[in-house]
């Protein structure tokens, strides 16, 4: 039976110390290799595990994106992606559209070139046709679109008034009272109730 050579206390402590140091070193290296700040609220800008699942990659917004004048222009222009929304609404809805960010950039470029709102809208109409507008210009045939409903309602109202005016309205004095099966007391109560609640 072989007796293993006994380990000295000093050797044991030395090897244990080295093991602990190696473990700590490995842990430190692993921690250094880990992407920092993946926990919410850590303040650091960590990486997402599955960026593709988090929607289309976005470019950082700028002050121009929040420019009220730009938004007003974009709300007059229709997105070309096939939706029925304006450029501003489409590019800020779901943020999945690829057309509206491009149209937004066009608006910004035209604005930087010194155009005002109406000139930008006109430039869009020249490029994409009248369909680029969220509502047709109130001119030419389009006026029919704007005026026909109001004109019809007004005309119908006037015709109604004219027809009713031509009819002989029945004056109150010619209206024969309808005989009612009620006592004078009941009629008096009816009159009081009507005075309170008639409408």
């Amino acid at each position: 039976m072989n007796n293993p050579s006994p380990t000295g206390r000093r050797a044991f402590l030395r090897s244990a110390g080295l093991s602990v140091a190696a473990t700590l070193g490995a842990a430190y290296a692993a921690a250094a290799a880990q992407v920092p700040g993946t926990l919410p609220g850590s303040g650091a800008n960590g990486s997402l595990g599955d960026p593709a699942a988090a929607g289309r990659p976005q470019a950082p917004t700028t002050d121009r994106d929040n420019d009220a004048a730009v938004q007003t222009i974009e709300k007059r222009l229709r997105c070309t992606c096939g939706c029925t929304l304006d450029v501003y609404t489409c590019r800020t809805t779901d943020f999945t559209c690829t057309s509206s960010p491009q149209l937004h950039r066009e608006v910004l470029q035209l604005r930087e070139s010194g155009m005002d709102g109406q000139q930008i809208v006109d430039a869009f109409v020249a490029k994409y046709g009248e369909q680029a507008l969220m509502a047709p210009k109130p001119q030419g045939f389009n006026l029919a679109g704007y005026l026909v409903p109001g004109a019809l309602v007004t005309t119908a109202g006037l015709v109604m008034l004219w027809i009713l005016g031509r009819r002989r309205l029945v004056p109150a004095s010619e209206r024969a009272p309808i005989p009612v099966d009620a006592t004078p007391e009941e009629l008096a109560r009816l009159r009081d109730a009507l005075a309170d609640g008639d409408s």
Binding site: A52, P57, G145, P177, D181
Partner: protein
């Protein structure tokens, strides 16, 4: 099961044709054996279509992906409640749903209608069966929900994420119930015209059916607005989209009818107009279906384009020609019993109210069709969007809102000066106070100011009506105020239920006016960064981006972006907006099934909604792009929906409200009483 479903569809189709042909001819020839057979066939059609529906649900529930419809709208990992709602998620299933519900309504109309209308019922059966047969024929010949595929895929494509929302499980059925039940009033109107029974009997027969349709449609429209608001992420609820417009059109004409029918009941006037409204409303419901299913007008809500549009166009033209020709042939039988006595009367106010309802309906229809008209006339494609509809409809809507208050204040037949003074003083004062308060608070938006002032006026008219009614009961019967209030409503359900509906409309208007003060901004934030946004009430909200976490849940990978909220420096908790990537599993691999969808974070209170959309990450990091929106008064719109439903239910609650026949007779006579000594009509 699909074979049984196909068989059930064919059975319903053949029975529908039988009913349509024999119903008209049997009643016309006076053959009671044939008419009895027709009524029994209505129940048989209903049973056949219920079997077909059960077959489709079975296929959905058992993941029978060999059925093309099941493959196209479900997947194995789809939650059960969405498998149930997938029944109406697509064109073919929704057609079957439509036919089933219509057959149930048709059977209910036969079973529940009073025997007083027995002469009308065979014609009613014939009309409803014709419509059912049409829908079944569309399924059989163009959009069969039981169509099978050549191979059986392992999994389905799944349901569009935007339809995976609780709103979409109840919004379409409600809307369909509204659209579909319009067929019953139409059937009674046609029956009355065919049988020449044009007294007020048919009006009584259909009033509650019309109320049912109106209520379902109103609830369906409101739920649709809610779904668009919480699911689509654009921060609004109504975009004047053609499909939205199509649902509004029959609602507007039905609302006109519910007002004008009172004039026919009380005064025997507007018979032609009322029949025209019913026929027109049915046409508009079919038109809405045509718009939704044909793809003729671009809409975000449309079903996939298919050839079923031609079926609906043909049906629309045929049924319109039939209905209006029939009305024209009976024109001479529809003379008014009395004429209008004064322009200052409730009848006149209702006439103008009807003019506005129909005018708004026309302007919505005109705007919806104007792109097609423009292309036909000028060859130029144009877009007609919200700016157009708002410009044309807002003034008409405000006029209508004013009439909502004016109408109930004016007496029937003729209002005296004293009556007008007594009725209008309070409400006009209330309107003045409202306008002054709004101006003093700094409101300068013209339309919002006008809308809220008119809302104040109308609210005062309603309060006045309730106050006088309660006071009269309190004085006459010695009832306590709460008891008098409850009995007032319970015994005059139609009138006071109507007032509650008016209250709901006011609440909607307040909510709509709030959108004039919307605030929004975009921001890109790293974790810990903040952005501020001032609310229209003067508070400053601070939004601090906390971070993005990703995890898997059910059938999707969720990327949740969390924002800490503080109002005027005081912490208000956190809100989380999500991106959801839905997937299906094929050969053990997760495959994205749709584009990532957005789940908006919404915090709602009486004053305003905080509405946060997580747009996406920057460079795959936790740096996030957001849109922050403050939407004032949106909560009021959903609350208005509840009030409207409550008022509608009170209005249509069965029974006579506990009014004895003797009292009813005297009350009716009261309309004609000239009170002794006053010289004025009551």
């Amino acid at each position: 099961m699909t074979l049984l479903g196909q068989f059930a569809l064919w059975t319903a189709f053949v029975l529908g044709l039988w009913c349509a042909i024999v119903g008209f001819s049997g009643r016309w020839r006076g053959r009671p054996d044939l008419t009895a057979s027709v009524v029994r066939s209505v129940y048989a059609i209903c049973a056949a279509l219920l079997v077909a529906a059960a077959c489709l649900w079975k296929a959905l529930a058992t993941h029978d992906f060999n059925v093309e419809y099941v493959w196209a709208y479900t997947s194995r990992n789809l939650p059960t409640y969405y498998i149930i709602s997938a029944f109406w998620a697509g064109q073919k299933g929704s057609l079957l749903f439509w036919a089933v519900v219509l057959s149930v309504f048709a059977a209910a109309a036969q079973a529940l209608s009073s025997r007083r209308y027995s002469e009308l019922l065979p014609y009613v059966a014939a009309v409803t069966s014709s419509v059912v047969a049409f829908f079944v024929s569309v399924m059989i010949f163009a959009a069969n929900p039981f169509a099978r595929m050549a191979v059986t895929p392992l999994d389905g494509r799944g349901l569009n994420p935007q339809l995976q929302n609780v709103g979409m499980t109840i919004h379409p059925p409600m809307l369909y119930l509204g659209y579909i039940s319009i067929t019953i009033p139409f059937a009674f109107a046609v029956a009355a015209l065919l049988s020449r029974k044009l007294d007020t009997g048919w009006i009584h027969a259909i009033r509650k059916w019309t109320l049912v349709s109106w209520l379902f449609l109103a609830i369906g429209i409101t739920l649709g607005m809610w779904w668009a608001y919480v699911e689509l992420g654009w921060g609004g609820y109504w975009a004047w989209d053609p499909v939205e417009n199509a649902s509004l059109l029959p609602w507007l004409t039905m609302t006109a009818f519910l007002h004008s029918v009172m004039i026919q009941e009380k005064r025997g006037m507007l018979k032609r107009w009322n029949l025209g409204l019913i026929v027109g409303t049915f046409m508009l419901s079919i038109f809405g279906t045509f718009i939704t299913r044909s793809g003729v007008i671009a809409s975000v809500h449309s079903f996939t384009q298919s050839n079923v549009g031609y079926f609906f166009l043909a049906f629309l033209i045929l049924s319109g020609a039939f209905g209006f020709t029939l009305l024209y042939t009976r024109w001479h039988l529809l003379e008014a019993e009395v004429h209008l006595e004064s322009m200052v009367s409730r009848e006149a106010a209702f006439l103008f109210n009807n003019l506005l309802f129909v005018g708004i309906a026309f302007s919505v229809l005109w705007g919806t069709l104007f792109p097609i008209i423009s292309e036909l006339v000028r060859g130029t494609k144009i877009t007609v969007g919200p700016p157009f509809f708002n410009r044309v409809n807002v003034p008409l809507g405000l006029l209508l809102l004013a009439l909502t208050g004016i109408g109930p204040l004016i007496a029937w037949r003729k209002a005296s000066t004293a009556n007008l003074r007594r009725q209008f003083t309070g409400p006009l004062a209330a309107a003045g106070v409202t306008a002054a308060a709004l101006l003093a608070s700094g409101m300068r938006d013209f339309y919002a100011l006008l809308a809220l002032t008119l809302a104040g006026f109308v609210a005062a008219t309603i309060v006045q009506e309730f106050f006088r009614g309660v006071r009269a009961r309190h004085r006459m019967h010695g009832e306590s105020i709460p008891v008098a209030f409850v009995r007032l409503v319970a015994r005059n359900r139609r009138r006071y239920g109507g007032y509650i509906v008016h209250v709901a409309i006011l609440i909607y208007c307040v909510g709509f006016a709030g959108m004039a003060f919307k605030r929004e901004r975009e921001a890109t934030l790293k974790p810990g960064q903040s952005v501020e946004l001032a609310s229209p009430y003067g508070h400053v909200y601070r939004f601090t981006h906390v971070g993005i976490s990703q995890y898997q849940a059910l059938n999707r990978v969720v990327s949740a972006a969390t924002v800490q909220i503080a109002r005027d420096g005081k912490p208000e908790g956190v809100m989380t907006s999500e991106k959801r990537q839905h997937f299906t599993i094929e050969n053990g691999e997760k495959l994205p099934s749709f584009e990532p969808s957005t789940e908006v974070a919404i915090r709602s209170d009486l004053r305003e909604d905080l509405y946060i959309v997580f747009a996406g990450p920057v460079n795959g990091t936790e740096e996030a792009v957001y849109r922050f929106t403050i939407n004032p008064l949106v909560w009021w719109i959903w609350f208005g929906g509840f009030v409207l439903a409550f008022g509608g239910v009170i209005t249509m609650w069965p029974g006579d409200g506990g009014v004895s026949p003797n009292r009813a007779r005297r009350a009716q006579a009261g309309y004609g009483v000239t009170l002794v000594g006053t010289g004025e009509p009551s």
